[in-house]
């Protein structure tokens, strides 16, 4: 384990701590971090740049900066794949799945942690152990079950599937969070004559915003970005989601790279906006410990 030049930053007053070596290692570390950052951002930049090139502009100069900016690819994308409808479908299914999974998890977490229900821990274990069943493994029988319920190609079918697959992690986060909330808070509310629903929604919910925020962001991102569930459950119906739309668009033979780039930007923009808005919550690490 020999120490290289870049190790200097770790021992400002150490043996090799001459000022020159120190600033050199500082620069090296920053250089490494900048290179990694460039690698992380380049594909996104490349796609953005291509999305504003015209078809001929792209074929003349596929890799460089565009000579002029055009939005014709975005207009084309809107014409070719009913973006607004797909966007609406994605919002409905993601929103529905998110809401249902959060409410179901809230109920279970309340019953398990605050009502002293018998076999509470067993129920908790049962719900989180559903995590061992990934969608890929059960995809056809899941589809069959949704068909049996008469929900094939419908919003409800996908919403229920999303809710079920988001449930284990949501329940875990809320149970762990509710455990840390002192029971006195609930006893006090009960003495004031509050019923269970009021305790849950007016006492517990406000104090658990960090947990709710974490699980909402987590569920939003995977539901919005998911491909397999909508691909199978929605099939070729007009209720399919943006990700399925973009996957199908990219499979068409006459699609140019500027056009598909515009489609990609449309598909990832909402998530990017959410990321910018909730950066603090996302990066604080509340989520990193609890990813599917």
């Amino acid at each position: 384990m020999s120490t290289s030049a870049q190790s200097g930053a770790f021992h400002p007053r150490g043996r090799r701590g001459s000022p020159v070596a120190r600033s050199l290692s500082r620069w090296l570390v920053t250089l490494v971090l900048v290179v990694v950052a460039a690698a992380a951002l380049y594909p996104l930049m490349f796609t953005i740049i291509n999305s504003v090139k015209s078809r001929t502009g792209y074929s003349q100069n596929p890799l460089g900066l565009p000579s002029g900016i055009t939005f014709e690819n975005y207009i084309d994308t809107f014409n070719r794949m009913n973006v607004l409808r797909l966007l609406l479908n994605t919002i409905i299914t993601t929103g529905g799945g998110l809401l249902l999974s959060t409410v179901a998890a809230l109920f279970i977490a309340y019953a398990v942690t605050k009502l002293r229900m018998p076999f509470g821990n067993f129920l908790f274990l049962f719900i989180i152990s559903m995590l061992v069943i990934p969608s890929q493994v059960v995809i056809y029988p899941l589809y069959e079950t949704i068909l049996n319920l008469g929900m094939g190609g419908s919003y409800q079918g996908l919403i229920l599937a999303y809710a079920a697959f988001g449930l284990p992690m949501s329940t875990y986060l809320l149970v762990a969070y509710f455990r840390a909330i002192p029971d006195e808070l609930i006893e006090a509310a009960r003495l004031d004559g509050a019923g269970d629903m009021r305790i849950l929604f007016e006492v517990l919910l406000p104090v658990s915003t960090p947990a709710i925020a974490a699980l909402s962001i987590l569920n939003f991102v995977w539901m919005w970005n998911d491909l397999l569930l909508p691909l199978v459950i929605m099939g070729g119906s007009d209720k399919t989601t943006l990700m399925v739309g973009i996957a199908l668009l990219s499979g068409q033979y006459d699609v140019s790279i500027p056009l598909i780039s515009a489609g990609l930007i449309i598909a990832l923009l909402p998530v990017l906006v959410v990321y910018l808005l909730f950066q603090r919550q996302i990066l604080s690490g509340a989520i990193s410990g609890a990813v599917r």
């Binding site: 384990m1 190790s7 770790f10 992380a40 951002l41 890799l63 249902l100 019953a111 719900i127 990066l283």
Partner: protein, 312 residues
């Protein structure tokens, strides 16, 4: 496995011991528990049981399935594509050390509060937010023979490396894994950083004053202190390698060329929906389930220990 059956009599027994509105409490608990329980049973447990049942059936296209015991499993183990998909999976698993170590090094570089570390952290997480299918389509362009990666390699004088990344059997699997790592990397940095946040700065500082270099601090101090986080991240990487690659394969290679990027999760999909062999698809699904369940059991155990109460 049905909790409501087991829990119901016990609920009544427990309720009787208390005075007051026992019955209302039972009704309340049932009402609270039922939605989640139904979701878990209907859309997770039932499909799993049905998948096992289906794996015992002979299915041909849309014909009525017939019971065939373990014929699907027998034909599965003789199927070279199936064997190759698991072999490919094993090859991907061999890259695990890179998945574990690379984010750790970067997290440690950030942890020493390099100027602008917050910005770097934010940038590194961007790829994870982008939908994997979008990532796949993006990289299909970047890895294209005339794409920017090869242009850069030729530009810096590494022309022999500018190959058809997605068209060679070895390079395609390598590219797929690298793209997955690109997308997953930022989550690792974030996970490590939240682990490192619990480590006392004094310990690190003391080591630095004693003249310990970067690698020394990494190996002797950081790694032992955040061992649980490293273990958790390792498990997370393993489970992603098993069940997170589907959209990437779908967008990048469709399992090809040949079946060189065929992974079990993609093979389940193709066998079921393209070859219309649902029975065999289910059998392959069960084989994948064994591995996926083994790996995620560690995550569940950690979650259970973290969230269970002292009572009951």
């Amino acid at each position: 496995m049905n909790t409501s059956d087991i829990a119901a009599p016990a609920l009544i027994k427990a309720g009787r011991r208390k005075r007051g509105s026992t019955r209302t409490k039972i009704v309340l608990i049932l009402a609270l528990v039922l939605p989640g329980l139904l979701l878990a049973i209907l859309f997770k447990l039932v499909p799993l049981v049905r998948a096992f049942w289906l794996s015992l059936m002979q299915t041909r296209g849309f014909e009525e399935p017939s019971f065939a015991w373990f014929a699907n499993y027998q034909s599965m183990f003789r199927d070279p594509t199936f064997l190759q998909s698991f072999q490919n999976g094993a090859t991907v698993f061999l890259t695990l050390p890179v998945w574990v170590v690379l984010p750790l090094i970067v997290a440690l570089l950030l942890f020493q509060r390099t100027p602008g570390w917050k910005l770097f952290r934010a940038v590194y997480f961007v790829p994870y937010m982008i939908a994997p299918v979008v990532v796949g389509i993006m990289f299909r362009q970047i890895l294209a023979p005339e794409g920017p990666l090869n242009a850069m390699l030729i530009g810096v004088g590494l022309a022999p490396l500018a190959i058809e990344w997605l068209n060679g059997p070895t390079s395609a699997l390598f590219s797929l894994t690298a793209v997955a790592l690109w997308a997953f990397f930022g989550l690792g940095v974030l996970t490590y950083l939240s682990g490192l946040a619990t480590v006392s700065q004094d310990v690190m500082e003391a080591a630095r004053l004693d003249g310990a270099g970067f690698w020394r601090v990494l190996v002797s101090i950081a790694v032992p202190l955040i061992k649980p986080v490293i273990g958790y991240w390792t498990v997370l990487c393993m489970s992603s390698m098993l069940i997170w690659m589907f959209p990437l394969i779908y967008a990048l290679t469709r399992g090809g060329p040949g079946s060189s990027t065929m992974l079990p999760e993609y093979l389940v999909f193709i066998t079921t929906f393209e070859f219309l062999n649902r029975g065999k698809g289910a059998a392959i699904g069960m084989a994948l389930f064994v591995f996926a369940a083994l790996v995620s059991a560690f995550v569940v155990r950690r979650m259970y220990l973290d969230g269970k109460g002292e009572r009951s």
